[in-house]
Amino acid sequence: MESDVYSFALKETLNEIGNVCPDINNAFVFKENGEVVASDEKTSEKTVTRVVDAFDGILEKADSIGNIEGVTLECSKGRVNVSLVNDDFYLLTVTSKKADINYVNTVTRVIIPTVLRLLEKIHPAPLKSSEVSPEIEPATSEIEEPVEQAEETITPEEETLEKEIKLEPLLPETPVNQLIVENLGGLLVPSDTVRIDKEILSQWEELYEDKKINMVEIETFDGKTTTCKVKPIKDSKYEGKGIIRMPEKIQLTLEIKRGELVRVKPVID
C-alpha cells in the first residue's frame, strides 16, 4: 500500500510489456525476501504468492552458488524465466512454447531495469512514500514567502491554516501490511491469537506514539474480515519473511489456508 506509486508504475509497465509481447503469459517482480513488488493483470495474487513460496527454497540455498542471478525452467508447454534486475529485484516471466525468447528477453531486460532505475531516481525510497510530502512543502513555502512580503494584507492565520491542511497527510493513516498465512499449532497455542513480525508491530507502535498494539484486523482478498489478538513471532525461522502465523480456527473463520495472502492492520483503541 505504501509503495502504491512504485507498484502502479511497474504494474503498468508489465501490462504494456504483455501487450508488446503477447507470448508473455505472466510477469511479476519480487524481492529476495519474498516481497512482491508488482504483477501484471493476468497473474492472480494467489499464484504470485505460491510461486514466490516455491522459489524461496532455491533462494535459501543460493549462497552456495553465489546467489541467484537467473533461473530458466523449460516445460513441454512453455518456459519460466527468472532474472535478477538491478541487484535487488527478480523479474519472473512465463512464456508460451512458441515465444521468441530473444525478443522477450530484449524487451524485458531493457524496459524493466530502465523503469526501475527511473523510479529510484524519481522516488528514491519506494517503501517510505510518506516521506515525499515534507519535501514538497518547503518548496511551496519558499514560493509563497515573497508573495507574502509583497502583499502584507494576507493574514498569518490564513497561512497557518494552509500549513495545517498540508500537514494532514502526515498524520498516521492506518497502515496495512500484506502477509502470507502460515500455520500456527500446538497444545498451548491460543486459538484467538495470531503472530506477526515484531518489526511490523514496533513500526506500528512507533507510528502511534508507542501505543501497544494488541489487536489486528485481518482481511482476505475475498473480503472476509476478523479481529483477533496479536503477538510477535517467536520462532526465528519465520521472522522477516512477511508471514502471519495463524491458528486453524482463524483460518477456518476466514476460509483461507497456508500460503494465501491477507491484509493486516492494527486496531487502535
Binding site: S64, G70, L73, C75, V94
Partner: protein, 129 residues
C-alpha cells in the same frame, strides 16, 4: 491356474528394479563422461533407492544436494501453477556456479558447472535414449 498368475506377478516384480538399475548405471556412466567436460564441477544422481554424488568440493555436498532438490521441487510446482505441462529441465544460475537439474525416468539429476560451461551439450548427452 492361480499358480501361473503368481509367477507372472513375481517376474514383473523382479524385472522392474532391474530395468531401473540398468538405466541408472547407464546414466551414471554418461554423467562420468560429462564430468570430464570443460567447467563441470560435479553431479548428483538420485532415485528412490540410491544416490551417487561426485563433486570436486566435498564440503558443498549438503548445500548442493538441498539446492538441487529445491530446484526440482520448485520446477514441479511452477509447472503446475502455470499449467506448463511436463518439466524438461531447470537451470539455476548463480554468480559463480550454475546448476542444471532434470528428471530422467525416476532419476533426479543435477549437474553443477562453472557459469560459462555449455549446458546444451550436457542436456544432449543426458537426453540421448
Amino acid at each position: 491356474m492361480p499358480r501361473k498368475k503368481k509367477t507372472v506377478q513375481n517376474l514383473a516384480a523382479v524385472t522392474e528394479p532391474l530395468t531401473v538399475e540398468t538405466s541408472t548405471n547407464d546414466l551414471r556412466a554418461r554423467l562420468d563422461e560429462i564430468k570430464a567436460y570443460d567447467g563441470v564441477i560435479g553431479y548428483i544422481l538420485r532415485n528412490s533407492t540410491s544416490a551417487a554424488i561426485d563433486l570436486k568440493d566435498p564440503t558443498k555436498i549438503i548445500d548442493y544436494a538441498i539446492l538441487s532438490s529445491s530446484a526440482l521441487d520448485a520446477s514441479q510446482k511452477m509447472s503446475e501453477l502455470f499449467n506448463l505441462g511436463d518439466v524438461k529441465d531447470i537451470i539455476v544460475e548463480g554468480k559463480d556456479v550454475k546448476v542444471l537439474s532434470l528428471t530422467v525416468d525416476e532419476n533426479k539429476i543435477s549437474v553443477f558447472m562453472e557459469k560459462n560451461a555449455d549446458c546444451s551439450k550436457i542436456l544432449k548427452k543426458l537426453r540421448v535414449a
